[in-house]
Each structure stands twice: as C-alpha cells, then as structure tokens.
Amino acid sequence: MTPATWSEIERLFHEALARAPEDRATFVAHACRGNADLQNAVASLLDYEPHTRDFIEPRTGDLRASPMADAVAAVRTPITRGRHAGSVFGAYALESLIATGGMGEVYRARDTRLDRVVAIKILPPHFADDRDRRDRFQREARIVSSLNHPHICALYDVGLHEGV
C-alpha cells in the first residue's frame, strides 16, 4: 500500500465516522469515485469499527479486587486525599476521611435529615467520568442494598453530585 493510499483511507474513514451510520456507505461510494480498492478498504474498516470498543484498550483488566488495580488507581488518581472533607452533598455533610483505596475514598459523614452517622464512598474521578464504571457502581449498589446481613454494611443511598 502506498503512503498516499493509506492516508486517503484514513481521511475517508474519519470523515465517514463523523456521519450517521446509515449515510456512511453512500458517502464512501461517492467519495471514492469508482476506486473499488479504496472503497473496499474504507468499508472494511467501517465494518470492524463497532467491534473495537474494548479491543486493546488500556485498563482492560477486571478492576475488582486486584491489588495491582489499587496501585494503578493510586498512581492514576493524583487526587488530593480527603479533599471532600467539609463538603455537603445533598443531605450529607462530609466530616472526615476514613480510608482510601483503589476504588476511591470513604468518608465519615452525617445524614442531616435523620441525624445519624453514615459512611460515604466516593469513586475516583476517572471512574466517575466513565459511564460503564458508574453503571457498574450503581449495579453493585442495587445488589448490596438488597442484602441484609450483620457482616455486610447496609446501603442507604447512591447518587451523583456535581460530577462526583
């Protein structure tokens, strides 16, 4: 493949992706002006593109319960430890940092409506920004809240507050 062909394929690939899926084939056919090799190359990439979401993505490992993942999160998240102490999230006043780990920080907080002490776990920013991770967190929350056991903490609430 010549460098010119390669960069042409790349340009059309990106331009096609910027269009709605149903318009892409027409766009590519038109843009390739009868160059069947070029058209096939671009069309093939567009066919594979939907499958690439998880392909060779960094941080693909299952982040649950991995000591390495904790280390990763610690390095990747240069958050100021305990920066939420003193903040108010809805009805919860965060008092002090209890612990940190790969999955975020846990604060001692007060539920101002019911005047009781609660623990609040806050996800690291790169988790909170990731919809899959947020969904997983919500799912785990649903599961935990359905459990009632003296050795499993009772879950009262889960939510998003100004991106946190």
Binding site: M1, W6, Y48, F55, I56, P58, G61, M68, V75
Partner: protein, 189 residues
C-alpha cells in the same frame, strides 16, 4: 530495596535531564522487573486472569521509582520505555508458550480471539505484534501510539506529550490503528 528505588529514581531523573547513559543503565533494571511481573501474570496458575499490561507497568513503576521525587513527565518517560520492553517480554513469553513460528497460520486469529487479547493473551498477542510491525512500516507513529497505550498504559495526554503531537491527533491515530489492527488480525483465516 529503598536504595535500589533511590538509584533508579536518580537514573530516571538523570535521563530526563538528557543523560543518555542513564537510560542504558535504567533499561536492564526495568526490564528485569517487568519480566518478573509478566511471568507471574502469565503463569498457568493465573490462567483466565485478565492480562492488564497497564497494571503490570504500574506495579513495576511503584516498586522501582520513588514517585514523590518525579514529575508526571518523568513518569510518562518511564512508562514509554516500559511500553517497548513490555511488548517484547509479553510477545516472547507468548511465542515460547505456543512455540509458534511466524507465518500465515500464526498471524491470524478469530474475531473472538482478537477481542480476547487481554483474557487469553498468547495467540492474539503474537498476531498483534506481527500486525504492529506491518503498521510500523506504513505509519510508524500509529504503531508507537499503540505501543505506548496498550503496552505502556499511557493516557491519551501522556502519549501526546511523548510523541509531541496534539491529543486529538493521538485519538485519531488510536481509532484508526485499533480498527486497522483488528481487521488485520482476523483477515484471511
């Protein structure tokens, strides 16, 4: 261990100041640590455990470097070196394990196998390494983007800094490279 960490941190800082000899001294030490971690990760007892190259390089970093003394650019340099070493180590392990010679049969895998590169690494890793060589011949920067991101765990921003291009360029390179690599891995079974 604390002494070793201080020494390696010094080497990293010296290299980032432009001392190329420091890099020559740094590389074998990082290589040894990465190899040890990679072997443990890919050993048969951990079969089925996902391969997380990012975590491996991070663990090596945490063990070898005193992070309180380095800036993020130093860290990114460490990861960039590690990415290259990591790729070679993992592919060597994969090839040794599967005793596959490079060739038409070895270079292509099914779509499922390709997508499972981080779960059942060996065949897909070998295919990926071969495809990356082909990519490097056509478009060296894209191949480097993949190496830095997949084998080194660098973020888009860190990769952009290493390659001295805009983050948007890295994102476009990444998208194109990923798609092309996947199509290449599963082509002509």
């Amino acid at each position: 261990m604390a002494d070793a960490s201080a020494q390696i941190t010094d080497l990293l800082l010296a290299w980032n100041q432009g001392d190329e000899a420091a890099l020559q001294e740094l590389m074998p030490r990082v290589h040894d640590e990465l190899r040890r971690l990679a072997h443990r990760c890919m050993s048969s007892e951990r079969a089925g455990h996902p391969l997380d190259t990012t975590a491996l390089v991070n663990e090596a970093y945490l063990r070898l470097v005193d992070s309180s003394r380095v800036r993020w650019q130093n860290r990114a340099h460490f990861f960039a070196v590690s990415a290259q070493l990591m790729r070679r180590i993992l592919v060597d392990i994969a090839r040794a394990r599967h005793k596959l010679k490079r060739g038409a049969d070895a270079t292509h895998v099914s779509l499922d196998e390709a997508l499972a590169v981080s779960h059942q690494p060996s065949p897909a890793l070998i295919a990926l390494d071969d495809a990356l060589k082909t990519l490097a011949a056509m478009d060296p920067r894209k191949s480097r983007v993949v190496e830095l991101r997949f084998f080194g765990g660098l973020s888009v921003e860190e990769t952009a800094e290493m390659l001295d291009v805009a983050p948007i360029t890295v994102m476009r390179d990444w998208k194109m490279a990923k798609t092309w690599l996947l199509s290449e891995l599963v082509r002509e079974r």
